[in-house]
Structures are given as C-alpha cells and as structure tokens.
Symmetry: none
Subunit: 215 residues, 4 copies
Amino acid sequence: MALKTKIRTYSADSDLIARRRQEIAIAAFHALAKKGFDRTSVREIAKACHMAQGTIYYYIGSKKDIFDLLLTQAKAHYEEFFEKADAYFKTLSPTQALKQTIEDFYRKLDERQDFALFCYQEAKNMSPSQQKTLLDWDRSVVDVFRRLLTKGCASGEFVIADVTLVAHHIVVDSAMWAVRRWFLREYYTLEEYIRKEVQFILAAICRDGGISNEG
Amino acid sequence: MALKTKIRTYSADSDLIARRRQEIAIAAFHALAKKGFDRTSVREIAKACHMAQGTIYYYIGSKKDIFDLLLTQAKAHYEEFFEKADAYFKTLSPTQALKQTIEDFYRKLDERQDFALFCYQEAKNMSPSQQKTLLDWDRSVVDVFRRLLTKGCASGEFVIADVTLVAHHIVVDSAMWAVRRWFLREYYTLEEYIRKEVQFILAAICRDGGISNEG
Amino acid sequence: MALKTKIRTYSADSDLIARRRQEIAIAAFHALAKKGFDRTSVREIAKACHMAQGTIYYYIGSKKDIFDLLLTQAKAHYEEFFEKADAYFKTLSPTQALKQTIEDFYRKLDERQDFALFCYQEAKNMSPSQQKTLLDWDRSVVDVFRRLLTKGCASGEFVIADVTLVAHHIVVDSAMWAVRRWFLREYYTLEEYIRKEVQFILAAICRDGGISNEG
Amino acid sequence: MALKTKIRTYSADSDLIARRRQEIAIAAFHALAKKGFDRTSVREIAKACHMAQGTIYYYIGSKKDIFDLLLTQAKAHYEEFFEKADAYFKTLSPTQALKQTIEDFYRKLDERQDFALFCYQEAKNMSPSQQKTLLDWDRSVVDVFRRLLTKGCASGEFVIADVTLVAHHIVVDSAMWAVRRWFLREYYTLEEYIRKEVQFILAAICRDGGISNEG
DNA sequence: CATGAATGAGGTTTCATTCAT
DNA sequence: TATGAATGAAACCTCATTCAT
C-alpha cells in the first residue's frame, strides 16, 4: 500500500527531504485542519511550517502533493494497528480479539481524529490516485474486522447475517467518534465510548447478546 | 425551524424571490455537488441556474448565502418525515414504529444522498449560523429515534444500555449509505440495506435479539 | 491560412470580442515590442490596453493567446498585398510586376516593421501552431515571388540559376530593412532602399543586368 | 575588441576563472539555445555546466553576464576569419578574395549557426553594452566586405551602385542560412548554398554578370 | 572554492462582486 | 428586473540570488 506518486523535488538529499516532508506534513496539517484545503493558502501553510513560501516548493511540486505527505504519514500511524490486529487474530478468541482490535483502532483513530475528519471532508478534492490510497486503506481496515468476524462465526461465537456489513459498521462507528464529537464529547470519554461501542456490537452479533462479555 | 438569516436582496416582490430561490437551490446544488463549494465558481452556478452572473445576486447577498438556500430546501424535504414519524410513534408499537421510521428516514435520505454527503464535506465551510441549522436538524432527527427507543425500553420491548448512543448509531448508519456508496452500492439495493440495517439494530436492542421481528 | 485556434472567452458577444481583441492586439503589441514577450507582464499589457489585469482574461485564455491576436491582425494587414501581387502578375510584364510587388511588399512590411522584427525574435516562444501560422505565411510570400520569377524566366526576361533561392533573398532582404534599421535608417529612406534593392535584384537576374530598367 | 565589462567575481585566481568561464560559455549555451534566455533558469544552466547553482555565481555576477561569456567566446571563434580575410585581401584578386572570404565566413557562421540565431533573438534582452559589442562585431564584418568590394570597384572588376548595401546583403544572406534553415536545409547543403550565394552576388556586381567566374 | 537550501519578489491566472446599461 | 463586462485582490508557483556550511 505504498504511495507510488513521485513528488517533484529540487534536492537530491533524500534524508533531508524525508525529514522536511515529515515536518511539513505535521505543520501543514495544523494549518489545513482549521479551514480546509482550499481555504488555506500556501502562504499560510508555509508560515505554519516556519518556511518561506518558496521553500515549501523545494519539497513538493504543487500544493496538492501535500495530500500525499499527509497520507503517507497517516499510513505510518496505523502500521502498528495492523500488526497488533494480526497478533490478536492469531492468539485470542474471536470475541477477545474483536474487543482488543476495536479498542486499538478507536484509540489510534482518536489520536488522529482531526485527520480522519479531514479525509472525509477533503477526499473529493484529492487526486484519483490519492483517493485510491484512501479507499485502499479503508478496505484494509474493513478486511481486518471481516476476517475476525468470519472466524468468530465459524467458531460459533458470533451469529451474523452479513459479516461485511457489520465490519463496515464498526469502521463507520469509529468515524462517528470523530465526526460527531460536537455531541459525543459532551457526554463520553473515549474509553467510555469504546466500551459502549464494544457492548453494542457484541449485543448485535453474539449468540448470547454479548452478556457473557459485559463488565 | 425557519431560517433566521436575512439574506440581503434588492427585490421587493417576496413571492418571486421565494420562487426563484427555490429554483436556485435546486440548480445550484446540481453544480455544487460535482466539485464542492469552493471549486465551483459563481459563474458556473449561475449558468446551472440559467441566469446571468449578476442576476443571482438579486437573490443572494453573497456566494455563501447559497448554503442557506440549500438548507432551507433540505428542511422542507424532511418535513414529511417528521410528521409521519410522529404518527408512527403514536399509533404503532415501538418495534414497528422503529422499523417504519428507519425505513422512512433512509428512503428520504437516499433521495437526497448527494446533499447529505455535501453537508458532511462542506459543514466546515458554512457560517456558524448555518452550522447551527445543520446541527439543530441533526439533533431533531436523533431525538425522533431517542424518543422511540426510550418508549420501547419503558414498554420492555427493548433493552438498551445507552439510548442516545443507539439513536446516533441509527443516524450515522444512514449517512453510511451515502458516504460509503462506493462500496455498498456494489452489493446492496437501498431496500436490502434498509432491511439489513433494521435487522442489525433490532438484534442489538431487542430482548430476543430481534428474532420475533425477522421476515 | 485562417487561424483555427479557438481562444477561450467568457463573453458570447462576438462583436465585442472581435473589437476588444483588435484593441488588445494593437495596444498589447505596443507594450510587447519594447521589452519582448517574456519581459512584459500581463499587468503591463493590460495597462497598455487600459484594462484591469483581470479584464484581459475576458478576451483571451492565457497570455500566449496574445500571439494569436497579433498573428491574426498581421495576416489582415498583408491581405491587400496578396491581392495586388496577383493583379500585377496578371497584367504587367514580369519585370514591371516584380518591381511593383517588391515595392508593395517592402512598404507593407515597413508599416509593420516592429512586428516583423518581433516575429523573428519571438517565434521560438510561440506554440507549434503559431509557428506554423508564421511559416505558412512566409511560404506564401516566397511563393508570390517564385511564381513571378518563374514566369520571367519562361518569357526570357530573367536568367536565374535557382528561382527559389532568389525568392528567399527578396524576402530576407525585406526583413533586413527591419532587422538592420539601426544601420540602414542612418543612410537611407525606405524609398531609397526599395529603389536600390530593386536595382540589386534586377542586376542579378536580368539578361542585361537590369540596365534597361534603371531610372 | 576586448570586453570592457568587468564581471564581479569572488575569485582571485584569474586563470581558473578564465578557464571556467569558457567552460560555462559552452555548456550554458547548450542549455540556452533550446528555450531562449528568459525561459532557461539558472538552475538549468548550472546543471548543464555540471555545477551547483551557487557555484556559477563565482564566475558571473548575475544571469545576464552570461551574455558576455557567450559574446567573448563568439568573438574568439571569428578571430581566424578576420585574419584570413585580411590575407585574402592582400594576396588575391578582388573576385577571388570575395569568393574565399564569403566561403570562410559562411563556414564559420555555420559552425555557430545556433549562436547566430540566438543573437538575433536575444539581442533585445542584452544590456546596451552587450548590444554594442554585437553591433561592433557586425560592423567589422560588414567592413571586411566593404573594403573588398571597394577595391574591386576601383580595379574595375565590380560595378556596384552602393557598396555598403551589397556588403550588408552578403552578411544578411549568411544569417539567412541560420534563420531559414527550416527551409534551406531541406534543399541545400552548406557548400551548395555557398556556391549559389557566390554566384548570385557575382551576378549582381560583376561587369560580365559573373560569367567568367562560374565553374 | 564549492555547495545547495532558503528566500521573497513578482509572474500568470481565477473569481466573487459591482454597476452601468 | 436582468445583464454581463469590468474589477483587483489574492491564489499558486517560479526563479535569480544569497549565504551558512
């Protein structure tokens, strides 16, 4: 799932480029998250990066390449999640693995909730290849949960009419935490939300309504 | 829930204005949905409205007032839903009312799924008062489901740990139909999706896992 | 030899467009001739046209479309020459026709000598299609002279080893008047230059060295 | 005819500087010829010189000083021509000397035809002192031919109404080989072109129409 | 001597808005 | 009312030049 797009550069020092691009990804997002991509000028982005307007073009070819920097960074952020999810799948019971995986994913997402929101809002403004990157990533996450649910059904722990749909629900509900924070944050902490979400999902898919896993 | 915002206008004939604004709302959205608000010029919007660029300014004070026109129109679209939901609440059993209300809401949303998506993407670009309009509307919808779920819990039909959260889930899952159509449309028709969604929700909240309501 | 390129416009009033473009062609060239295409900003061009920077983009799609306006105008300027050259060819003796055609062409070129020079300098900066327009026009002029020289050879008035080359010489020498004015203008008026040029060419191609045509 | 312009430099080792400047002149022109002076960035020029962007500024004070390097180099290229032309003048008959001098000059120009073209196109972008260098050089060449033609008239071999004008014609026609190569190269080799040019000039200026020199 | 990252002025172009008609 | 030409601010981007290393 590596980003293949080559971004134009004036430098040959790939170490510096990597470092600066990371800096840009962080600082630029800070600026972009506030007003959105189109309403944030390159001048503002550069200022947020403590660079002159021209300097940023040393490391990107055009404004929209910034999307690529952000996506690359995001991918790195979730790498750990995919590894741990795989470990849970192999070592835990489906129910326990599902609980752990949801917890991990929701916490990871919470750490970058602004970015999650940003992607929902800006996907339309991305290039086709950037959109594909996003969709591929999404599919990967859904697949993690689908595999887990399928295993649980096979073992008889879960009873699910449509595994794929439930997997999507789990992912969508994580986005809900970012998209609806205007409401949720008033009433729940992240950990509370996770607990309730796990409860809700298990209630829907466990043979016993998830009762045996409460508490 | 009438729009409080007074849009500047040069016209005195308020009937004509109302009519024209409705026309604009429809045609403008056609143009806006493709590329988003910021990337659609007033020239393009005017052309979609079959108007001269200057003419549109008789009906709006500035480009961002178009959001108001869209929101007004959207509210009108859902008026029927609120009326019928109220009727279901009064005449049907909680389970039946929930099924009917979900069906009605999802269908209504499907008719304006582009607009739902548009709101998710553009909310950040709206004025505070426009955002409030959007949130108020959202709260109203959540409340419809909350009232229903609460009643069902009282009657013993539902067993729900957190009524508000489930209400949000129902609303979010409707948005899922719009936001994830890139995936869902490949596998489901609207009616199939609604059926599975009802099934999923009932499985989570019904004492008997929704079994008595299947089919 | 019509320019086929369609230039983007925001207006539908083709009369106004034609009028404004002609104005732009005249005023823009005034600005462009001084410093060349690349060193004249659109801001300067617009000012020379008594327009705001943005206004000029109502009538052109990009800065380089200005080349097209200039070429169109130049073409119109030489139309009369082609007509008269044709008349000379049909009614006069080759020697007389050649004298008249050279006179007419050199005078026409003199009226637009800045533009001739401009084309020599800017051809490289033009688009391929613009360059083709220029070359096609050049070929047409060469052909006018080639046809005349060929006729003169057939009638025995001229003795020419390579008709095409002489035709090119005649055209190049007209450019010489524009390109070398820093020198020529010091010593010759246009009419003197034309007289001497005719003399020089006739000396090179007439059986009697052009003696019978002197004076 | 040494360059008067003092180019700012940070270096004291004037030998190295001279060497490097020559290298730059060659390599830089390679880059400049393609797109012209204004459309070739210092970055591109430096790359063509296998130098870092900053290094080139040890040898020039600003981008436009590159014109000086090119002019210096070009003058060196033609030095041999001036020497041989002088020898021809002193040892050969005017007609033979003219033939030889034209041949030598056209061949020299052919070797740097891209540069000749470049000068026509970029003269306007040069500084006044650079333009003067160019004009002085041009005048020197014209003078070479003027002296020769004058001698031939005195000896009775040539009959020329205006010696200066014919000298200019000879020079302009050499440029024609560079400027009109899009056409000429299709039909002539350099040597053919030279032969025909000599023939054409002699036909125009020799008492016998150049017949005695053909073959 | 040599490097190349950094700068910011200035280039072209777009676009929301106004206003004479 | 309706029009659409005109405006100029501000957007993205390039590039000659400098300077710390």
